[in-house]
């Protein structure tokens, strides 16, 4: 069976950052593979190693810059990658439906049996693309999966969904399916030197919307970010000043007052 993994390159803001217009200044952002997607890649690679998946393909919506991140996923064991970018994405904030339209076209071309992606992207935090994609392409789905066992012969994925409050739901999901992967599902590997070398030779297929039979209208967003600001701190914390020794001494007083260590 074939596994498609949606992989996003996410931006993380530096400790000190400036806001320019409706986004954080590009110079104050660092880019990396989305943490949740790292677990999704690992899950797919493990399925390949177990002989369950024949091929693992990643798909990313992102500019050329994202190829470094995509190479990381390839170095960890994905077979090849599709990267979609278009001027249309530069225009503004892509909403869930815009991403789904893009992934739908890639799914039609790749015909995967299983689509894995992270629960959410660390930067935008919508947590919705996987489930919306499943609805669009007519796949079953399960959100927030922290345990996965695929029975390819029976065409079922046995999953656990991590609910709130330390409760897990055990669910059988018919394939084909989209599963959104929670951190902790597995232990994502570090790319080996050999993997990194091999990744240089693997294919990253760069596509524009037209290559997928899409037009800019297909990825028009219903959402528009109109402002971004640092939230007013609601902190009324007493910040204990001084070097480590002084601060620890003052904190020890506070704690003793509360009866700690008595």
């Amino acid at each position: 069976m074939k596994v498609l993994v949606t992989v996003k390159e996410v931006a993380e803001a530096d400790d000190d950052f400036a806001i320019e217009g409706t986004d954080i200044a590009a110079s104050d952002l660092e880019y990396d593979l989305n943490e949740w997607d790292d677990y999704a890649v690992e899950a797919a690679v493990q399925l390949a190693e177990a002989g369950i998946a024949d091929e693992v393909v990643t798909v990313t919506i992102g500019p050329e810059r994202a190829e470094e991140t995509i190479r990381m996923a390839l170095a960890k064991g994905a077979d090849r990658a599709v990267r979609v970018w278009d001027d249309a994405f530069e225009a503004g904030f892509a909403d869930v439906a815009a991403k789904v339209s893009t992934f739908e076209a890639v799914v039609e071309a790749e015909e995967p049996d299983l689509v894995l992606g992270g629960v959410q992207a660390a930067d935008t935090g919508f947590g919705a693309t996987g489930v919306a994609l499943a609805e669009r392409i007519g796949f079953e789905h399960a959100a927030v999966v922290n345990d996965l066992e695929v029975d390819a012969d029976a065409g079922v994925a046995h999953v656990r969904r991590e609910l709130e409050g330390g409760v897990e739901e055990l669910t059988d999901v018919d394939l084909p399916a989209v599963l959104t992967v929670q951190t902790g599902l597995n232990e994502p590997r570090y790319a080996s030197l050999r993997g990194i070398r091999q990744a240089q030779r693997k294919e990253i297929d760069a596509k524009e919307l037209a290559d997928l039979g899409l037009t800019p209208e297909d990825v028009e967003s219903a959402l528009d970010i109109t402002s971004m600001y640092e939230p007013e701190s609601e902190s009324d914390a007493e910040i204990i000043e001084g070097d480590a020794g002084e601060a620890a001494g003052r904190l020890a007083e506070v704690l003793r007052d509360k009866g700690v260590g008595a």
């Binding site: 919705a128 330390g166 640092e230």
Partner: protein, 315 residues
Amino acid sequence: MSDVLVVSEHRRGELRDVSYEAITAGRELADARGGDLRVAVIGGDVDGFAEDLNREGVDAIHAVENGEEFDHNVYQTAIAALLDRTDAGTVVAPNSVNGLDYAPAVAEDRGLPLVTDAIGFEYDDGLTVTREMYGSKVETTVDVDGDRHVLTVRGGEWAPAEGVGDAPVESVDVDLPESGARVTGFEEVGGGDVDIADADVLVSVGRGIEEEENLELVEELADALGATLSSSRPIVDNGWLPKNRQVGQSGKVVTPDVYIAVGISGAVQHVAGMKGSDTIVAINTDPNAPIFDIADYGIVGDLFEVVPELIDEFA
């Protein structure tokens, strides 16, 4: 079209608090739009739930008697049916694990704009939603096209609806498609030797500890203080501590007398599990870390310098 449909949430026989919070958010939106507030309760003991959900400000309750536990196919089908038969334009759902298992599918199915994890909104000529980005470092306002939407609301941002309402309860039957996802059971995780919810003092460790071998340092601090050791999610994800030590939305909710957060940035999922602590102390290098927003005492500094000094104070 100006009505708002709030979808309530229950699990294993009990309504979850987010249901009442979503009612408050839904009422706010219905007021701004000049519409009615409708509440859907789907599956389980719908009659009992409907009685509890009948709070002030609720105009109608739709009870869909299908199944016992959450099933996204039932929720999707029931919500679609209610959108067809009522005047509801906007769906408000909890931004919970289950909410995110159906709300995106509802939005996709109906072709409606979706905004998740809302922490506030305004409705003037159209809907403007406030939400966070970049790991809670910034807030954004998002203008949403059209006059129908699907919105999920973050827990703890709206006060729970109170009072007793007199909304009529309508029973609704829906025809269900065959489901390709079947819940086979539930399991409580995180049992074991220690219940961190019982502790009076917790020393809680996060990503800032960097390496597994550094855990000794916070264990030593916990010992010196006579405290119990707990952690944020990444420590458990890495397998450095067992699940029963995890504080947060998917772990335990704790309310100790004193909670000492060491190297924890304070992601919203973590804060949800410890904000009820009497006294919160945070030690973190990043002065902008959200943990300081809820802390009573803070040290902006390197835990590897501060913690050994603190251990010495209690040695």
